[in-house]
């Protein structure tokens, strides 16, 4: 079976030795919803940074769609992955919603007609078509988050990673974002990876889960079996 992402005995340590991911091995299958959870400082962000090629592991192998991640392949791998930051203000910077969503396709060298078509479609998916001329900074946090998601969907990546996608978001906005991701990511057979602290979200929404603590894998497997894992209650609390 082909895996979308393979981590094989991956070791990473920051130069100041402040934190390390130790011999991490797991796989993510094509088209699954994969959650990464753990306490603050568990290594979730470091893991994502390795996967995005923002940091490079020192030992082991990371493969994305059969392509081994290294300095030579990082650009190609980044084209296959879309990343939504926890804080949309880190990602949304253009002067209008349209321009921000168009940023990625223009970088990929699409013609202006193609860019327009792709942007219109992405804005329709996140239900922001009527705001395309607006400045994103006059929108609410939830709307800015949707702009950030549109900016990633427009590039049509095979894998979408979301860092704490529903943090600081009210329930209706969360539901609407989940619906968008279900419809345009999961139903299209794309792989969705997200980090979260919410046990409710992990158990109800993900297929598989990786549980990290201080850079070490505690649990990896089906999210339905998470409640059987003795450390779950200690780290994620009760329902």
């Amino acid at each position: 079976m082909h895996h979308e992402i393979v981590f094989d005995n991956v070791f990473f340590e920051y130069p100041d030795k402040s934190f390390a991911l130790k011999n991490l091995s797991f796989t993510i299958n094509i088209g699954e919803k994969f959650a990464i959870c753990g306490n603050n400082g568990a290594g979730k962000t470091t893991l994502l940074r390795l996967l995005l090629g923002l940091e490079f592991h020192q030992k082991g192998k990371i493969k994305v769609q059969e392509l081994e991640l290294n300095r030579d392949t990082v650009r190609e791998i980044r084209k296959r992955i879309g990343f939504v930051f926890q804080n949309p203000d880190s990602q949304v910077f253009s002067a209008s919603v349209y321009e921000d969503v168009a940023f990625g396709p223009r970088n990929l060298g699409f013609s202006e007609e193609e860019v327009e078509e792709k942007v219109e479609r992405a804005l329709e998916i996140v239900d922001l078509s009527e705001y395309k001329e607006h400045s994103p900074f006059r929108l609410s946090f939830g709307q800015r988050k949707r702009v950030a998601i549109a900016g990633v969907l427009v590039m049509d990546p095979a894998i979408i990673i979301l860092d704490e996608p529903f943090a600081n978001i009210d329930y209706p906005t969360r539901r609407s974002l989940q619906r968008i991701l279900e419809k345009d990511v999961i139903e299209k057979g794309k792989t969705l990876i997200f980090t979260s602290h919410s046990r409710l979200l992990i158990e109800n929404w993900s297929d598989n889960v990786l549980f990290l603590n201080k850079g070490v894998k505690l649990f990896v497997g089906s999210s339905s079996k998470l409640s059987d894992f003795p450390e779950t209650e200690k780290f994620l609390g009760k329902f």
Binding site: D89, F93, A95, E99, N107
Partner: protein, 260 residues
Amino acid sequence: MNNTRFLFPFSDKKKQRIFSSVALLIFTILVIVLFLLSNNLFNILIIYLSTLIFFLSIKASFLRTIKLIVPASVLIFFLGIPALFLKLGEIIYSNSFIGINFEIFSGGLNRALFIWVRGIFSVSVITLYTTCVTMQEFIQSLRSLFFPNVIVTIILLMLRYTPLLVEEGENIRIAQKMRGLDSASRKRKFQAAAALMGGILIKSIKHGTEVYEAMVLRGLEDNLLIKREKITISDFLFLIFITPLFCLVSGGIIQICIMK
């Protein structure tokens, strides 16, 4: 929705105008050049009033302009203070304070006045312009005037992130006050101010890194691609006829006032 997230009060929506934002930008730059070239405070005032009338006629927001001018004036006031002490002309004021003699010369006062008036009026005209256009129109107008991509990108990011940092700095300041800073000693207040500056610096580095990484992850390899605003025939007509007419009218008013 937070208005403090903007350095300038840009318009929320694209307004229907006869002239494009490029023409208005050229006009704004021209007015600022006139302020700089004019060596008479009265002339500067007349040019400003004519510009104000023009911008109000195309639905610029004077109220939003005033809101920005007030804090900007404080900064401009401090910028003009060193000029006050230039030893030019006759002494018009002299006093001593803790053994230091303060003397203000007429030439120095004149220079300071020019800095204040030119500064405040220039900020006011730029703000009037921004209330007529959206941020996107402004950025595209700069590209149309052949500003390099990298400069426009810096301006865009500065416009975007400076107010955000100001807001974060304000939050740190409120947090310090809520923890009893008001009743602390002067030394503690000074330390808190240093911590505030340090906090803003660290946050700006963190923001900058995140924004750069977000750009790289969305395929940025070289420069940002910012579209140019189209320049239409009406813009050329505006620049060829209306702008010289504006200069003539404001110049004529000045002449009439001087003759009186």
